[in-house]
């Protein structure tokens, strides 16, 4: 089971899901991410789902859960790069990913985090 890498950029953790996620992978990601937030003291988490084609109710709920957990650990979560088909499907399913903020792409996600909080990303500041 491939693990999804968690990258740290300043105060933000970036998770880029490049494969079609299996359930085990999502569960593992949830744990890895919680550990990483605690370990790094990150203020924001960006989950990039550009490569994810299918988000069903389970994965949708998991994304919401990850966002809730991060918020508990004092980190804001932004899901970025959602494909149109995925968005449509989610809506049709009746899932709104409540509590999860979204942004169109990584850049806007970073900007969103910067504007809402006083989170600073070292790379972006320069």
């Amino acid at each position: 089971m491939d693990r999804v890498p968690v990258l740290k950029l300043g105060d933000v953790l970036i998770v880029s899901i490049q494969v079609d996620l299996q359930d085990q992978g999502v569960l593992a990601l949830q744990e890895d991410l919680a550990d990483a937030v605690v370990a790094t003291g990150a203020r924001g988490v960006i989950i990039d789902i550009t490569a994810v084609e299918i988000v069903d109710s389970f994965i949708g709920r998991m994304l919401a859960t990850i966002a809730s957990i991060s918020r508990m650990l004092d980190a804001e979560t932004v899901v970025v790069g959602m494909r149109p088909a995925v968005a449509i499907t989610l809506v049709e399913l009746g899932l709104s990913l409540g509590g999860v903020r979204t942004a169109l792409n990584l850049e806007k996600g970073v900007a969103l985090l910067n504007s809402s909080e006083d989170t600073q990303i070292a790379a972006a500041a320069r």
Binding site: Q22, I54, S57, A85, L93
Partner: protein
């Protein structure tokens, strides 16, 4: 819900669900569905799959491609109460129709296809889907797993059968063991019986020998009386008898003498039979012995047509042998030869055979001979070759068997060879019998040891040893205990001491100890001759030999060894 079946998948765990939705997306793509519809189909399958798994059901999904619909049927075990649950409801939002038949165990999901879109044939789609490696590999693995499980089951069954067979074999083995044991017991019992029987036979043999001895002995006494009385009657001192009376008395006398000779032979034979023949060798002058024999036997030849000649090899006129036994054998052979030779010569030759270390006594006659078929039988007791001369001659048929027994008792052999007289074409051929007696030559020549001291409290044993050492040792001293032995040794230093361990006053071990302490006696080699077997033998003993079954060879060998060892 009609169309070509593209693929059928099993749905047992979350990986299967993953595979199913990937296949769903591929199929949807190839069936000509737009991007978002592909995602819808895949997501719907994912939702249904999760629902199935959440309820712990084993399902299979079939993808059917119709003319304008893509149908996915999911077969479940019947009557599991699979209602339109959340997953199915959610999926229903993504596809055109979804039907759920809980009693039939089937969920049918239909997605209509856009019209007029070119799409590959069902066959091609099938091939493409099959290329999704993980699916087939997983299936293959699963199939193999199942087969493996089946094989395992078979193996287990086989194992059980084998175990049963094993038990059968074990039972058989136990049964066989039991039978074998029983048979064994039978054999042991049989063996004991055999032992008993052989004991009885031995006893019977002993009894027979005792009977012979007793009868012969009891017969001899009255016979001697008769002979004595006849001598008195016919002798010059008695009252004169009439000629007829004198003749009759003479007849009585000769008959009694014949009978006595017969009884004596019987007695000798009985002795030989009982195995009590113990040769007592001594140095014998063969020339003197043969001359005595000749003198005794010559008159009995009666007619002057037979000559008796004796020839003894000059090189070895002396031999270590039991004189009485040798005399008996030679007398038997010579008297036999004389008895059955009417004219010609009876000849005794004595010569050593260097090759075999034997002394060869050859008795040759020119007599009637013994037919070949009787040659071995004449060594049977009471056997006589049938014929006119044999009938005339007096004899019991015991002479040759006895001679052979004596020869064997002395470690020698006695053989006969013969040709029958007359009856040939020339008519002048003379027959003849040759008897060859071969006796092993014991040590002859100078004595090996000068003086031997025998320390033993058993008189008989000392006498035996003295006899055995005759010719081998120049002098034999005897002492009945350790102290006597020390006194004797003080007088004349022996070359060798034979020591018995159990003696009164001073035992063998003490004697050896005292000898070891004495400077003069220390060098005298000692041989322990004892009945004690589990004794700690004294270190100074050169050799230990057992009194039981002590033979002359063993003793001489030990003595020779001890003496030679002392010279080193």
């Amino acid at each position: 819900m009609t169309g070509d079946e593209l693929i059928r998948l099993r749905v047992l765990d979350d990986r299967d669900v993953f595979t199913m939705r990937r296949v769903g997306r591929e199929v949807a793509e190839m069936a000509g569905l737009a991007g978002s519809d592909q995602i819808r189909v895949a997501t719907a399958l994912s939702e249904i799959g999760r629902e199935v798994l959440a309820r712990g059901l084993a399902a299979s999904a079939a993808f059917l491609l119709g003319r304008d619909t893509l149908t996915v049927t999911i077969d479940l075990p019947a009557d599991t109460g699979f209602q339109r649950a959340d997953g199915v409801t959610l999926a229903g939002r993504l596809v055109d129709t979804i039907e759920c038949d809980p009693s039939g165990g089937r969920v049918v999901m239909v997605k209509s296809l856009p019209a007029g879109r070119a799409r590959p044939s069902a066959e091609m789609i099938r091939t493409r889907i099959a290329a999704l490696a993980p699916v087939s590999a997983l299936d293959e693995l699963r199939r193999q797993n199942r087969e493996l499980a089946e094989t395992l089951e078979e193996v287990l069954q086989l194992n059980t059968e084998l175990e049963e067979t094993n038990q059968g074999v074990l039972a058989l083995y136990n049964q066989l063991s039991a039978e074998l044991e029983e048979t064994n017991r039978g054999v042991v019992a049989l063996y004991a019986e055999l032992d008993e029987k052989s004991g009885q036979i031995r006893e019977a043999g002993d009894a027979r020998n005792r009977f012979w001895t007793t009868v012969s002995h009891e017969l001899r006494t009255p016979l001697n009386s008769i002979i004595g009385l006849v001598r008195l009657l016919a002798g010059p001192g008695g009252e004169p008898l009439g000629p007829e009376q004198f003749h009759q008395v003479q007849l009585i006398g000769s008959s009694a003498e014949t009978l006595l000779a017969l009884v004596s032979e019987l007695l000798d034979m009985a002795k030989a039979e009982s195995g009590r023949l113990d040769p007592q060798p001594s140095a014998v002058d063969l020339i003197a012995l043969t001359e005595r024999l000749g003198m005794v036997l010559r008159p009995t030849s009666g007619l002057d047509q037979v000559t008796l000649s004796v020839e003894v090899s000059e090189s070895s006129p002396e031999m270590l042998v039991d004189e009485a036994m040798l005399t008996k054998i030679l007398r038997n052979l010579l008297s036999n030869a004389l008895k059955f030779t009417e004219r010609g010569e009876v000849r005794l030759e004595v010569a050593p055979d260097a090759a075999t270390h034997e002394m060869v006594f050859t008795v040759t006659d020119t007599g009637i001979g013994i037919p070949a078929e009787h040659l071995e039988r004449v060594f049977e007791e009471f056997y006589q070759v049938p014929g006119p001369i044999q009938a005339r001659a007096k004899g019991t048929g015991l002479g040759l068997p006895y001679a052979r027994r004596l020869a064997e008792a002395m470690g020698g052999t006695l053989r006969l060879s013969s040709t029958v007289a007359g009856a040939t074409a020339a008519g002048t051929a003379t027959g003849g019998t040759t008897a060859v007696l071969r006796l092993p030559r014991r040590h002859d020549g100078p004595p090996v040891v000068g003086r031997v001291l025998v320390a033993d409290d058993d008189d008989e044993f000392r006498a035996t040893v003295r006899r055995m050492l005759t010719g081998f040792a120049a002098h034999v001293d005897e002492a009945s205990d350790g102290l006597a032995a020390l006194e004797l040794m003080a007088g004349a230093l022996p070359d060798l001491v034979l020591v018995d361990l159990l003696m009164p006053r001073m035992d063998g071990a003490a004697l050896l100890l005292r000898m070891a302490e004495d400077e003069r006696l220390r060098t005298v080699p000692a041989v322990v001759v004892t009945v004690v077997t589990s004794h700690q033998y004294p270190q100074t003993a050169r050799a230990v030999i057992s009194k039981h079954g002590l033979s002359r060879e063993t003793l001489l060998e030990a003595v020779r060894h001890a003496v030679e060892g002392g010279g080193e």
